[in-house]
């Protein structure tokens, strides 16, 4: 008998209205509809969410870990990209 693994789905949960969906893990499921249902059972059984996204893991294009130096290191000494040179009025908090 042919044995096939179910596809992997990445699960994103929005914990409250107004917040972003955050990646919280992955599930195996035969199709999208059941992926949503098992994501509900695995990741929101303690009231963790109000909305779920599932995305086929294979649809995610990831950056290459070996390309880290050229992708991320150049940002290291560009402190002028941080908006820290502005004087903010006191009334503006938490920027």
């Amino acid at each position: 008998m042919e044995r096939k693994e179910w596809p992997l789905w990445e699960v994103f949960v929005r914990s409250r209205n107004g917040l972003d969906h955050k990646h919280c893990g992955s599930v195996h499921a035969p199709d999208a509809k059941l992926a949503l249902q098992v994501a509900r059972d695995v990741y929101t059984r303690r009231q963790e969410g109000v909305s779920i996204w599932v995305v086929p893991a294979e649809a995610i294009v990831a950056s290459d870990p070996d390309a880290k130096p050229e992708l991320f290191d150049p940002a290291e000494d560009k402190i002028y990209r941080h908006p820290t040179f502005y004087k903010l009025p006191d009334e503006v908090n938490h920027m």
Binding site: M1, W6, V27, H28, A29, P30, D31, K33, L34, Q37, V38, D41, V42, R45
Partner: protein, 252 residues
């Protein structure tokens, strides 16, 4: 509270269904085919046990003899349980468990919808709360029924065998019980027979989509709701009751 015996029996039937199928479904915990379904089944089993707690507590209060949910769940004898035989049948394989849950949850969903307007306010509140759970169970199990039935040759054969085995027990859901008319006349809840057409309108198309053949009705009848159970019930109760019988009143 002094409720009529028919009223108490009616609530007990609904509560015992949830208790016994909850116990059966919980047997999957740690044994389901994949982790995701293991959690789904455990969640659904706990939903059913939660419903049983509310319903048995309510039945105990209606009875007015001081019996609480634990005494009703753990200290009755086999013949005093009023659950459908369908709920006590062994799980066998994943296919049978899903077909059974679909048959049962679809029934429960219709029942809870009707009970939400019950003249028994407590029963109505329990039904309104439990309806969402039943709806999810019916959807999850129903989706599985379609995938198994319309799946591989092996999954189709198992799902069909499950339906062939379980179908004769579904007649009991709608079999009239003494006191049905009184319960319906008092606005407590629907007579069982009035749910059949709506239930068939839900399950028959789903089995069609699953490419499963629904067997013809036969004269076979089960009688769990009258306290006459299958040979599987005693074994289930032995597991369910053993702690409470061995250490009466134990707490942890």
């Amino acid at each position: 509270m002094n409720a009529s015996p028919e009223h108490i029996d009616y609530v007990l039937r609904i509560g015992d269904n949830a208790l016994i199928l909850g116990q059966r479904t919980a047997e999957w915990c740690g044994h389901a085919p994949v982790l995701e379904e293991d959690m789904a089944l455990a969640n659904m089993a706990l939903d059913l046990i939660g419903q049983a707690r509310l319903l048995l507590t309510h039945a105990g209060r209606l009875e007015g003899r001081g019996r609480d949910e634990d005494q009703l769940a753990f200290l009755r004898t086999e013949g005093q349980y009023r659950n459908l035989t369908l709920c006590e049948l062994p799980n066998d394989d994943f296919g049978r468990s899903m077909v059974r849950l679909f048959l049962f949850a679809s029934f429960q969903e219709l029942l809870f919808e009707r009970l939400a307007q019950s003249s028994d306010a407590e029963l109505g509140a329990i039904a309104a709360k439990s309806l969402k759970e039943a709806r999810y169970h019916a959807r999850h199990a129903g989706d599985w029924v379609v995938r198994l039935g319309d799946g591989t040759e092996a999954s189709h054969a198992r799902a069909q065998a499950a339906l062939d085995y379980l179908w004769p027990y579904t007649a009991e859901m709608f079999a009239p019980a003494p006191g049905d008319e009184a319960v319906a006349a008092a606005g407590i809840g629907p007579a069982w027979s009035t749910l059949e057409a709506d239930w068939e309108a839900v399950v028959l198309p789903a089995f069609g989509e699953a490419t499963l053949t629904v067997p013809a009705r036969t004269p076979f009848r089960s009688y769990g709701k009258f306290g006459r159970h299958s040979e599987h019930m005693g074994h289930l109760l032995a597991t369910l009751q053993h702690m409470q019988r061995t250490y009466p009143g134990a707490q942890w």
